[in-house]
Symmetry: D2
Subunit: 150 residues, 4 copies
């Protein structure tokens, strides 16, 4: 791992950089969220309450260049919770340096320390660049996702 | 919908039938859980606490024949939570009668009443019988799932 | 296999029933072909020339109820040709009786007798009923198909 | 397209470079073919007979760096044949220069000149680098492939 790379919890002073990274992620998925969602999400990420999502920031040479949002939730398959890695984003210009892998491993290590043995995440079938990494660090399951929003 | 079909919340007196249905579901996935997981899960399903999963039972002519386990959890994409339909199971001998559809719709309606606008679930790509129903009532997303348990 | 089921080569006198079955197949794929294609294809199926497709008819109690079109073609992977099972169709009202399986096996046996060791076919990922059969008699490969028609 | 890039038919004098490229392709798929298959395939690629596969070589600064094998075969969907692009390979060290795209386009143009309107090919679902290109130049179909070799 790059010696200049630090993975650390989100801080309140990260707001602007967090917002920039999160917006880039939303752009990737060709979507957007309201101003209210930005504000509420940022507060929740810092709240450290049970059931709230949390965030790690990847910092390269002092600058935030990536983020991971994750959440613990109940599962029927174990007494322990499971960890849902909700979002992972790395600035395009610093990809290929192990930052995504470091974020995944940090979330996984943290979950284990919190008594949560496994993590999982969803990605689009055609997210080729992401999957090149995921195939190296995790197991593709045969599960696909359906949704009902109407 | 069949006039003899009732979808209702799990009750403590359902324990044996719930356990039978849940075991059939686990058999389908060629897995098993410990006795402790059975006991803890059943307590949690009845606890009605925030962050806990819940259960609806499909009852046909007075007999439990199906179940749905679901969970509300935070999402970064909205202020409201989202609803994860974790498990859905119908006794094989009563399939094709709209029970699965009725369970999905009940979970969806309940979530909406609770201020949770959308539901989603995962299924194995080769769960053909399930997908015949899901294609009718929901939208397949392009998302696939990776997991990391080691 | 049903004792009333016969799998046999297409005959000229099958024209009307072949056309009915082939049209049902095209309907399934929500497509159609021109009158010329019907006529040319039927002639080719009966020509028995090298490089032409061939057809087996499934006959139940004297009535054609299914068909398989197949073609041998060169492959870079072996000296022998490979066999492409192009189309398989069974009348909906007689499904679940082993007719599809019998057609596949007949094509496979015929190919082997002709010195063609393997057969393959393509199906839509969401052809659940077909895949229930294919998973039993064949191997799903990780291959997907791209096309360029413009 | 790179001005030093030429796409041209395979020649007999390409044998050693063709064999090198084709072996690299087979290595990618973690497979191998017999010496007989190498020899027979090379003769067939040069035969120009009906029903035989053909080959285009991509030459960069005078050196073969890529190949495409393709075959015309009958289809039930049209009077015209269709074109199966069987194999495509580019030397890893010269990827990202448009060679794969140029080979696909050359095969497509050639097929059209030969009265064959469409081309198709199969690729592994997890051939991410290939699919990055294919998504740009072609259409992913919902078709998957089954095979039966026993």
């Amino acid at each position: 791992m790059d010696r200049n790379l630090i993975i650390r919890p989100l801080k309140r002073s990260d707001h602007d950089e967090w917002r920039r990274l999160w917006t880039s992620y939303l752009d990737f998925y060709e979507t957007a969220v309201s101003e209210e969602v930005y504000q509420v999400s940022f507060q929740r990420l810092l709240s450290h309450e049970i059931g709230e999502y949390r965030c790690f920031i990847a910092e390269m040479a002092g600058k935030p260049v990536g983020l991971a949002h994750f959440l613990y939730h109940r599962t029927m398959w174990s007494v322990e919770d499971t960890c849902y890695l909700m979002d992972l984003f790395i600035d395009p210009e610093v990809r290929g340096k192990g930052i995504g892998r470091a974020l995944i491993e940090k979330v996984h290590e943290t979950a284990k320390q919190d008594g949560v043995p496994g993590i999982y995440w969803a990605t689009q079938e055609f997210n080729y660049k992401g999957r090149m990494l995921y195939d190296q660090v995790a197991t593709r399951t045969p599960f696909i996702i359906y949704e009902k929003n109407d």
